[in-house]
C-alpha cells in the first residue's frame, strides 16, 4: 500500500534523525546514571530499559509519520481537534492524580499524558486552519483563533493543573499567528495587555495559582528563602550543575542524583545529572547537538512548499525550543520551576512518542518540498 519513492528516501533528513538519536542515547546513559543500581531500588524494569523500549516504539512511529504525505492531515483537523479536546476533558474527570495534578489517563496496561497528544493535534489543527486563511488575518479572525486554539485549551490544561503546557499552548498560538500575519494593532494591544496584567493583575493571578506553584515562583526569585523547603529543587539543581566544573566528575561518578539529593532526576532534572558528570565541556557538546537540531528543523519552515508545511514546522520547532529553554533554564536557576521535560533526554514514554511524531512531521515536510501537486 505504501509507495516509497526513491527520491523520498534520498530527501529523508538523516542529519536531523541521527542528531536526535544521538541525543536520545545520551539521555538513556544519563537516565542509567541517575537511577543506577544498587543505590536505586524498586523500579522494575529499570528506567533506562523502559526508555530504550519507548525509543524503539518512537522510531517506528517516526517512520510511520514520514511514510504518508503530510498534506493529507489537513483534511481531518476538525476530527483531530475534537478528539484532543475530548482527551483533555476526560483527564479532568478520570485522570490519575500524581503529585497533586491530574495529568494522566490510565488505560490499564499503560498510562499516558493527554496533553502530550494534544500538543501534536494542536499544532496540526492550528496549521491546517491558518493555512487556508488570507494573510494578514483580520482582527476578528485573530481573536476567534485565540479563543478556540489558545484560551479553551489553556483553561482545560491549567485546570489539571499543568501551567507549563498551558502557557506553551498560548505562546505557540501567538508565534504561529505572527508568522501567518497578525494585525499589528492587535499585536501591540496584546503586548500592552500582557504588561498591564503583570503590573496590575499579578495579585489576582497569584491567588489563582496553587500553593506549590506560588512556592516555585518565590523560590525562583530567591532560592535561599527556604533552601530545605521550597527552594530545595533549585538549590540542589544548581549545586549539581556547578559541581561538574570544567571536565565533570565522570560518567557514573556523579553523586547528587544517585544519592537522591536531586529530585526528579530522571525526568525534569536530567540535565543537571549530565552536567555534573560531563562538566562544562560535555555540556558544550550536548548544546551543539541541540543547536544543530534546532537550526536544521527551523530551516524546514523556510523551504516548505506550502503554508501548511511552513506553519507545521514552525509550530513544532517552537515547541522544542520552548521546552528546551524552559527546562534547561529551570535547572540553571534562570527560569521558575515548571514541570516540563527536556526533549529527547528526559525519561517519559508519551513525551518521547509525541516528540518523535513532531520531528517526523517536520522531516515529512522537508521530504516532500519538491512535490508541487497534491497526488
Amino acid at each position: 500500500m505504501l509507495k516509497i519513492d526513491r527520491r523520498l528516501i534520498e530527501n529523508f533528513d538523516w542529519i536531523t534523525f541521527i542528531t536526535v538519536i544521538v541525543i536520545c542515547f545520551i539521555g538513556i546513559l544519563t537516565i542509567y546514571s541517575a537511577t543506577r543500581p544498587p543505590l536505586d531500588e524498586g523500579e522494575r524494569p529499570p528506567f533506562y530499559i523502559k526508555q530504550i523500549i519507548w525509543l524503539t516504539i518512537a522510531i517506528i512511529f517516526l517512520f510511520i509519520f514520514v511514510s504518508f504525505d503530510y498534506t493529507k492531515l489537513k483534511n481531518f483537523w476538525i476530527i483531530f481537534y475534537l478528539f484532543g479536546f475530548f482527551l483533555l476533558i476526560i483527564v479532568l474527570f478520570s485522570g490519575k492524580t500524581a503529585m497533586g495534578a491530574k495529568r494522566w489517563i490510565n488505560l490499564g496496561f499503560f498510562s499516558f499524558q493527554p496533553s502530550e497528544i494534544f500538543k501534536i493535534i494542536f499544532v496540526i489543527s492550528l496549521s491546517a486552519y491558518l493555512s487556508d486563511k488570507k494573510s494578514p488575518l483580520t482582527i476578528f479572525e485573530s481573536i476567534k483563533i485565540l479563543i478556540i486554539f489558545a484560551l479553551l485549551p489553556f483553561i482545560l490544561i491549567f485546570k489539571q493543573p499543568d501551567l507549563g503546557t498551558a502557557l506553551m499552548i498560548v505562546f505557540i498560538t501567538f508565534i504561529m499567528l505572527i508568522y501567518k500575519g497578525i494585525p499589528t494593532r492587535l499585536l501591540i494591544f496584546f503586548v500592552c495587555l500582557a504588561l498591564v496584567s503583570v503590573f496590575f493583575l499579578w495579585e489576582i493571578l497569584w491567588e489563582g495559582l496553587k500553593e506549590y506553584q506560588r512556592n516555585r515562583l518565590t523560590a525562583f526569585i530567591d532560592p535561599t528563602v527556604d533552601p530545605k523547603g521550597i527552594g530545595y529543587n533549585i538549590v540542589q539543581s544548581m549545586i549539581t550543575v556547578g559541581s561538574g566544573q570544567f571536565f565533570g566528575k565522570g560518567f557514573l561518578s556523579g553523586t547528587q542524583g544517585p544519592l537522591k539529593f536531586l529530585p526528579e532526576r530522571q525526568t525534569d532534572f536530567i540535565f543537571p545529572i549530565f552536567a555534573e558528570e560531563w562538566g562544562f565541556l560535555g555540556c558544550l557538546v550536548l548544546l551543539s547537538l541541540y543547536l544543530i537540531f534546532f537550526v536544521r528543523i527551523f530551516k524546514v519552515s523556510t523551504i516548505a512548499k506550502d503554508s501548511f508545511g511552513n506553519l507545521l514546522s514552525i509550530g513544532f520547532t517552537t515547541i522544542f525550543i520552548f521546552y528546551f529553554f524552559i527546562n534547561i533554564g529551570m535547572t540553571l536557576g534562570i527560569m521558575p520551576v515548571v514541570g516540563i521535560p527536556l526533549p529527547f533526554m528526559s525519561y517519559g514514554g508519551t513525551t518521547l512518542l509525541a516528540n518523535f511524531i513532531g520531528i517526523a512531521l517536520i522531516i515529512n515536510v522537508r521530504m516532500r518540498r519538491f512535490e508541487l501537486f497534491y497526488p
Binding site: Y179, T240, G242, F246, Q256, L259, F280, C283, G329, L332
Partner: protein
C-alpha cells in the same frame, strides 16, 4: 516580510543558546568549586565517635567508675509508617501511645533514628533480635555507659557526666565541635579532670544519601581512650563512711597525715550519680535542687561551719607556742562561767570544771579555761595561728572550695565597722562567733598537729607531686596536745568517752556548735535549731595513719553524736579490711 521574521527567529535561537552557555559558564567555571564543595557536604557526613573515658581507681586499684555497654533501640524514620508498634510495645514494655508519640514528634528530621528505649536488658535485646525481621528499620545500638560502682558513696567526689551546655563552651571553646550527644564532666573529678579522662574522639566519615542513610564508610579514625585516674582514696573507708553517714546529714573527710592524700570524702544526703548518666528524670532533679538539705553540695569543702570546740586545739597550741602557759599550769578555776562587767560567759558545764590545766581543759572541753587563755593571747595571736594552720584560705585541693573566715581586729573594723571586744576574743577562742571553716580545713589542722607540724596541700590523685609547708612548731607542744586529744576519747571524763573503741584507739576533739541562741532553742524544739556536732580526730594514736573530721548537721553534741559516728566509720573500715583478709 517573512525573511525578517526568519532572521529574528534564528537570532532568538542563538540568543537562547548564548544565555544558557553564559549561565553554565557562571555555574560550572566561576562558581564550580563552591558548588563542588557543597555537593561534597551533601554527600559526606562526619560522625564523631566519643572515646571511652578513663577509669577511676582507688588507692588499692579498685575501680570506682566503669564503662559498661548499654543497649538502646531506635527506629529508622523512613520505615516508621508501616511498623507494628504492638510488637515493640510488648517486648519493651513501653505503652503503644508513647512509641507513637515519639515517632510523631521526631518525624520532622529525616536523618536521625528515633530512640525508643535506652538501657535494654539482655532479655529485651534477645527478644528484639529474634523478631528483627518483623520490624523494619529496627536499630539496636551499643553505647558505652558510665557506671558509678559506689553510687551515693562517691557521688560528690567523683561527680557525674552530662550534656555540653553553653557555659561549658564558654570555658572550653573546643567543645563547640562536639556533637550534641557527647557528654562531659559536670561535677567532681569527672569535671576537674575531664581533659584527661575524656580521651580523643574518633571520627567516622561516611557517604550518605538524601535520606541520611549511611551507604559507605569512607574513612575511620578510631577514638583514643582517656587516661585512667588513680586516686589516693580508699574505697573501703569511703564505703564505711557512707554506710554510717547515710543516716545523718553531714560529712566525713579523711586525710593521710604524712602526705595530705585524701582517703575518704563523703557528704550526705547524697545522690546516685548513675541517674545523671542518662537524661536525668526532671522530677528527681527538682527534688535534688529543692531539697533544703542540699544533697548536691559537697559539704566537706563547700560547707561552712563555726568550728566550735574543735578550735580549742588551735587556741591551746597558740598558748603553748607563745610560751604563755605550761601544760600543768592551773590557769583558772572553772565555776561554770566567767563574768566580765554585765556580760556572763558560760561554760557548757553549768556546775563548772573546778581547777583546770591544759590537758583537762582539752579533754573535758572547758570553756572558761579557753576564755582565760584567749584573754592572755589576744585575738591577733589566735588568728595568726589559725591562719598558719590553713584556716581562712583555700587549701589548694582543686575543687571549688570555700575559704572560710578567721576574724581579727582589722577584719571587724573593715567589714562590720566596729571595734573588737574582749567578748569577741572569748567567742573566737572557743570556736564560736565569726569563725567559719570547712571540714576539709579542720581535717588538715588535725593532720598537721599529728604529723609534727607539716601543712600539706591535700591531694586526691596518686603519685602527684604535692606541696607542703613545714610550720615552725615545737614537737613537744604538739605531743602535749596530741596526748590531751587521746584523753578526750580514752579517759572516762573525756567529752568523747562514749566513743571509745576496743578495735582501734583513736584521739580527737569534739565540738558542738550553737545554731541559734540557747533561749530560742529551748523555746522551739525544732530540728533545725539543733546544734551541729563536730569531731576531728586521728587514728591510730601511736603512729597516726589517718586524720579526719566529721560534722553532723543539727546532730546534737559532738561527744554524743559526731565522735560515735567517727568510731563507727573507723570500726566499719577495720572490719571490712579484716573480712577482705579472711576472704583472701
Amino acid at each position: 516580510m517573512n525573511n525578517i521574521k526568519n532572521k529574528l527567529y534564528m537570532g532568538l535561537i542563538f540568543f537562547i543558546f548564548f544565555i544558557v552557555v553564559i549561565r553554565l559558564f557562571h555555574l560550572q567555571i566561576i562558581k564550580g568549586e563552591v558548588y563542588n564543595k557543597l555537593s561534597e557536604q551533601n554527600r559526606v557526613r562526619t560522625i564523631k565517635i566519643p572515646a571511652p573515658r578513663g577509669i577511676i581507681y582507688d588507692r588499692n586499684g579498685i575501680p570506682l567508675v566503669e564503662n559498661i555497654p548499654s543497649f538502646s533501640v531506635s527506629l529508622s524514620p523512613e520505615y516508621t509508617q508501616n511498623i507494628d508498634i504492638k510488637i515493640l510495645s510488648k517486648i519493651l514494655n513501653v505503652p503503644e501511645e508513647e512509641i507513637a508519640n515519639k515517632i510523631k514528634k521526631k518525624s520532622e528530621s529525616v536523618y536521625i533514628p528515633i530512640r525508643i528505649k535506652e538501657n535494654l536488658t539482655f532479655k529485651e535485646v534477645a527478644m528484639l533480635e529474634a523478631r528483627k525481621s518483623e520490624i523494619p528499620g529496627l536499630l539496636i545500638e551499643i553505647e558505652i555507659k558510665r557506671h558509678y560502682v559506689y553510687k551515693e558513696a562517691t557521688a560528690h567526689l567523683i561527680g557525674y557526666l552530662g550534656k555540653i551546655t553553653e557555659e561549658h563552651i564558654k570555658n572550653n571553646p573546643s567543645f563547640r565541635e562536639f556533637p550534641h550527644y557527647f557528654k562531659v564532666g559536670q561535677a567532681g573529678l569527672e569535671y576537674i579532670y575531664d581533659g584527661k579522662l575524656r580521651g580523643i574522639p574518633g571520627e567516622k566519615v561516611v557517604e550518605v544519601d538524601a535520606l541520611g542513610r549511611e551507604l559507605r564508610l569512607i574513612r575511620e579514625i578510631p577514638p583514643q581512650k582517656g587516661e585512667d585516674l588513680y586516686l589516693t582514696m580508699d574505697a573501703f573507708l569511703q564505703e564505711a563512711a557512707y554506710e554510717t553517714l547515710k543516716n545523718y546529714d553531714g560529712t566525713f573527710i579523711a586525710i593521710k597525715p604524712d602526705s595530705g592524700e585524701i582517703l575518704a570524702l563523703v557528704s550526705t544526703p547524697s545522690f546516685d550519680s548513675n541517674l545523671f548518666v542518662e537524661r536525668i528524670d526532671p522530677k528527681y532533679w527538682t527534688e535534688l535542687i529543692n531539697n533544703p538539705k542540699k544533697p548536691l553540695l559537697n559539704k566537706a569543702i563547700q560547707g561552712l561551719y563555726p568550728p566550735g570546740s574543735t578550735f580549742k586545739v588551735i587556741t591551746a597550741l597558740a598558748g603553748l607556742e607563745e610560751g604563755l602557759i605550761t601544760p600543768e599550769q592551773i590557769l583558772t578555776i572553772c565555776r561554770g562561767g566567767l563574768s566580765i562587767g554585765k556580760w556572763f560567759f558560760a561554760c557548757w558545764k553549768k556546775e563548772g570544771h573546778g581547777p583546770v590545766n591544759l590537758r583537762k581543759a582539752l579533754a573535758e572541753s572547758c570553756d572558761v579555761y579557753f576564755y582565760e587563755l584567749g584573754r592572755i593571747l589576744g585575738i591577733n595571736r589566735i588568728s595568726k595561728y589559725a591562719k598558719a594552720l590553713g584556716l581562712g584560705s583555700p587549701t589548694g585541693f582543686g575543687f571549688d572550695e570555700k575559704n572560710g573566715l578567721v576574724p581579727d581586729e582589722e577584719w571587724k573594723m573593715k567589714v562590720l565597722k566596729t571595734n573588737w571586744f574582749l567578748g569577741d576574743t572569748f567567742n573566737t577562742a572557743i570556736g564560736q562567733g565569726f569563725l567559719r571553716v570547712t571540714p576539709l580545713q579542720m581535717a588538715l589542722v588535725m593532720a598537721t598537729i599529728v604529723n609534727g607540724g607539716i601543712k600539706h596541700k591535700p591531694t586526691i590523685i596518686r603519685n602527684m607531686q604535692t606541696n607542703y609547708e613545714r610550720l615552725n612548731l615545737n614537737q613537744n607542744n604538739l605531743n602535749i596536745i596530741k596526748d590531751a586529744l587521746i584523753a578526750v576519747v580514752n579517759e572516762p571524763s573525756g567529752t568523747a568517752a562514749q566513743a571509745r573503741s576496743n578495735l582501734i584507739k583513736f584521739g580527737g576533739k569534739t565540738g558542738t556548735v550553737q545554731v541559734v541562741s540557747k533561749k530560742v532553742k529551748e523555746k522551739f524544739s525544732h530540728k533545725h535549731f539543733e546544734h551541729h556536732a563536730w569531731f576531728i580526730g586521728f587514728a591510730p594514736v601511736d603512729t597516726p595513719e589517718i586524720a579526719f573530721s566529721v560534722i553532723i548537721e543539727h546532730g546534737g553534741s559532738g561527744g554524743a553524736v559526731a565522735a560515735p559516728v567517727a568510731k563507727n566509720i573507723l570500726e566499719g573500715y577495720i572490719l571490712k579490711k579484716r573480712q577482705l583478709n579472711v576472704e583472701n
